[in-house]
Every structure is written in structure tokens, then in C-alpha cells.
């Protein structure tokens, strides 16, 4: 098929993104990435989801920690802590270089898209990583500690607070990245990677021009919930705190009206009958590169079949 758009958030989504990048070339695949959890810290512009994707596509992701950059060292942050500085956000020495370079490029007048492209290129990445917007959008977590900036909830508070909802500061005025709107003009299908529906995907869907455009396209989503737990991150905990079951079904319900197909893990195959759209079950826990490629191929085939069956 023709052009595909993949929506992706953090580490979980980036796994499938890498698989997709191995079977679709840069003219066939664009990544749209959440920037709602971007933040300013220590004078740096940090874009965690862009970085997760960048490291994944460069195959420089840290498999020991499950986040950050491979072969990382921690001398900076340990020294900063010893000097009385803020060390709750564990910036590795190499990771810090990426944030510094992005911040320098932004200060020199680059857009976030341009800065992202320059860094990706220097890491040998061929595919385009498109931040959802060049304008600031900031996810706010409403929780029992009050309203927290996303990274304060996610990292500093280790997702411990009970959440009651989310808002996305700046979303009303943020323009969809022109790279994405241009791509949508002749895009033939959309894959929502297994990212957190509330804090990774919803910020993109709530960008008005983006959410509206997706409704007219074939869209499939891959469940980030397998067997009642989130493979990575707080998605399952959030579902429960929002009084939803922590199941793939609840994720599919969350995307109701948007998705035309849903991908669940083989272990959740018994749930397929509860899902309102065509659903396939397949091994979706990605450990090896082959796992990523296999799931990517299943998704592309599924999307192709949905297009073929369109009226």
C-alpha cells in the first residue's frame, strides 16, 4: 500500500515503530510523535517521546534501563545531586548531549521539527520523525496531589498519585506539524502504536486538525495492554483509576469512532468478541527485533486488508 502514518509515544510505541521502519521505506512511512510530555528542565528542552523514538530507530535505545540511550553513564547526574542540584530526572551523560544539542538548535531558531531532523540525521536515521506540533503542548495530570506537569507525575512521583483526568495546555493554539498535514493529504492508513492512550495518543488526537483528519482514514491501533497489565508504563493503573477495566477492550472502547481495526495480544484472543471493530490477535510482546518486524508486518497487512474491504 501507499503512505502510512504511525502515531507513537514512548518506549512501547517506539518498539513497533522500529519494526515498521524495517519494512517500510521513508517515502512510505512517517512517524507522528507526541510532544505533550516535553518539558524544560535544567534549562534544556527535553522531548522524551521524540527521544525514545530516535534512540529506537537508531538502535541506540538502552535495553538495560528500558529507557534512554545505550551504553549510558551517569556521572553528570550523580555529581549534580552531590552539588545539591535537581537529580530526580535521571539524565545520562550521553542523553544529556542530545537535549543540549536540541536546545541549542531551538535557541538558534530551528523549529522542533528541524532540530529533531538534524539530530536524527546525525544518528543515521532515514525515516522522518514528525513532532505532532512545533508549538508547545504540555500534558497536565489531574491527580490526588493536584495538577502535575507530566514528568513530575511520571518520573518524580513515579506514577504513584491516583489520576482523575488529563488536560493538554496549549492544545487549542497548537498547529499540526505541516509535515503531518502534508502527509495526510495522500496517506492511505494510520497505525496507532502500542502507546498510552491517555497521555501519548490523546494529545495528538486532540490537536483538532489532526483528530479530524484521522477520522476519514483507515486507522488501526495496537493495544498497549496485554493480559490486564501494561507492557510499559502506567496505562493499566490509569485505566483502573479512571474506573475502566485494565483490558485491551477498554483501550478499544477509548478509541471508538476512530479506529477501524484493533490488534490485541494472542493471550487476549478471548476478548476479541467484546471489541466493536475487526480485531486480530497476534504475539504483541516485542522482545527481539524479529518480534518488532513481525508485529509491524501484521499491522501493515491488517491495514491493507481493511482498505481492500472498504465499500
Amino acid at each position: 500500500m501507499g503512505k502510512i502514518l504511525a502515531l507513537t509515544g514512548g518506549v512501547g510505541g517506539a518498539k513497533l515503530a522500529l519494526g515498521l521502519s524495517q519494512i517500510l521505506d521513508p517515502t512510505e512511512l512517517l512517524f507522528a510523535v507526541n510532544t505533550g510530555d516535553d518539558f524544560e528542565h535544567l534549562g534544556l528542552h527535553i522531548s522524551p517521546d521524540i527521544d525514545s523514538l530516535t534512540y529506537a530507530l537508531a538502535q541506540q535505545n538502552n535495553t538495560e534501563t528500558g529507557w534512554g540511550r545505550a551504553g549510558e553513564s551517569w556521572h553528570f547526574i550523580e555529581t549534580l545531586g552531590a552539588l545539591g542540584g535537581e537529580d530526580w530526572f535521571r539524565l545520562g551523560d550521553k542523553d544529556l548531549a542530545l537535549h543540549t544539542q536540541r536546545t541549542q538548535l531551538l535557541r538558534a531558531g530551528s523549529t522542533l521539527t528541524e532540530a529533531t531532523a538534524a539530530i536524527a540525521s546525525s544518528m543515521g536515521i532515514q525515516h522522518t520523525i514528525a513532532p505532532m506540533s512545533n508549538d508547545p503542548v504540555r500534558t497536565i495530570v489531574h491527580c490526588d496531589l493536584g495538577d502535575l506537569a507530566f514528568q513530575h507525575y511520571f518520573v518524580r512521583e513515579r506514577c504513584a498519585p491516583s489520576v482523575s483526568g488529563f488536560s493538554f495546555s496549549g492544545i487549542a493554539n497548537a498547529q499540526l506539524n505541516p509535515l503531518i498535514s502534508n502527509w495526510l493529504a495522500d496517506c492511505e492508513g494510520v497505525i496507532i502504536c502500542p502507546s498510552n492512550p491517555f497521555v501519548s495518543v490523546d494529545p495528538m488526537l486532540q490537536l483538532k486538525a489532526f483528530g479530524d483528519a484521522l477520522e476519514s482514514l483507515p486507522v488501526i491501533a495496537v493495544s498497549p495492554i496485554v493480559g490486564g497489565i501494561a507492557i510499559k508504563g502506567p496505562a493499566a493503573k490509569m485505566l483502573q483509576e479512571l474506573n475502566m477495566p485494565a483490558t485491551a477492550v477498554a483501550v478499544a472502547d477509548h478509541y471508538r469512532g476512530l479506529i477501524d481495526g484493533f490488534v490485541i495480544d494472542q493471550d487476549d484472543a478471548h476478548l476479541a468478541s467484546q471489541i466493536q471493530v475487526p480485531t486480530i490477535s497476534t504475539p504483541s510482546v516485542m522482545v527481539t527485533l524479529d518480534d518488532r518486524i513481525n508485529l509491524a508486518q501484521v499491522c501493515v497487512n491488517f491495514l491493507t486488508s481493511l482498505r481492500a474491504s472498504e465499500p
Copy 2:
């Protein structure tokens, strides 16, 4: 004797400063430090001379490189270079933490003096490190490449350009650090450490209130030039380019009218007769901690003797 003020620049001066700190307690000794080579780089406020002194007093100076912090690693700067970033200023991973913490403290409203004190305290330093001013002063090197910011001359161009003079941007409006002016009220003597007279000491002397106050006090200086070469840095090269002999005599002449005594190396003892003020020769090349302490004791004794011989 009572209170002593020590003027110090970079690594050379910091060696004697450590020696002084071992024989004089914090009520007897204040360090006044050049900030003319401070600069903003990668969004950080970098104060090379304050850092050299901080690392020396904490005995955390890097003896392998001769600058920076002990036990340093270079993952940040190597990664930044690979990403296409500016890597000519070799920021170590640990050193970077200090610059980041200073910058954060300044952004939060601390003065440079307060930020310096907080960092020094966290490193276990008892003595007070007083930046010459809380206001920005920036040394400009006039050279055959034009006018260069000091670190561009010193690090990026590796002191290669031929210099014709120096100016200190902001000096006219910079206020002397109140810690220093208060100390001067009952200070009994001043030691100019073996730092570069043009770019480490002159910025302090040209702070009007500072230079004027020193004239009424007993002042000794230690030559940074030994046997015609600078122990550290470009002092000898600068002397030649400014058409002065690269000797301790030229340094003493540079300080004429200010100093009441001069300390030269034992190898330069034959030059003593050419120097216009009382001069002692002593081992001044500091390799060990004992070397630093011994030279410090010679300086304090010399200053005491000059006071005793005052009319």
C-alpha cells in the same frame, strides 16, 4: 598577622591558593577571583577561574589534564560532537554538573557569589571564594584574528593568535563584590597568586574600587614566569607579543606602583637585582601539596616582614 586577601586566576594561582588555605583559616583568608573569563556556553554560565579554585580547594582538581575536575569522563562532549554540536570547549561530565548547578542557582535569583558559596559548601570547602564582582565583566583579547572573547582565544584558538592588548567589557559598571570591600576594611595584606597578570589579575585591578583599595595595603605578587616560561598558560607568549621580555622582571614591572614585594623562583634568583621592590627567591614550582604549603608559608612570612618594616 590578621586578614589576608589572595587574588587568584586559574590553575596556577589555585595551586598557591590551596597552600594558603592549609595554613590560614577562613577568618584569616579570603580569595578574590577573576571573572573576566566567564562566559555563556551551551546555555551555561561557566566561570573557569572560580571553578579552578573550587576544584583545587576541594582537592578535586584533575591532575591528569591539568584543568577541570578529577576522575572526569567525557561521554557528554563526545556525544555532543557526534550530534554535530559545539565541542571545542571540553566539558567533562562531572564538570558539566557544576556549570549546570551554578546556572540553575543564577536563574533562580542567586548572585554569582551566592551560587559560588553554595557549590563550594557542597564540596566541603570552608574558605570563602569571592568572585571579583557579581556583575558581568568579559575579557576581550585583541589579536591578529580581531577581537576574541577570552575563551575563544584561550580554548578554541588554543592561544595561537598573537595578542596586541586586552579590554574588559563591563568593567566600568561592575561593582566590587561587597564581600571583598568589607574584607578590605581591615585587611592587613594582599597576595597576588602566580596567575596571568594580563588576563587573570588585571581585570581585578581595573575594577576601580578594587585597584584603588589595594594601593594602600601591603601587596606581594608571586611570579607566574619561571626561567622565561609560564608554568601554565600563555603568560610568557603574551609578554613577548606585547614586546616585553618573558621574565619575572617584566611581571614585576607590570605591577610597579602596586606591589611592595615580589616572589621569584630560586632559578631566577639572579634577576632579583633588576626588580624595584624587595624580592625573595624560593622554590615556586608547585608539584606536591607540600610545595604549595611551603610557598604559601614563604608568602605569608614575607608579607608579615614587609608590614613589620613599614615606617
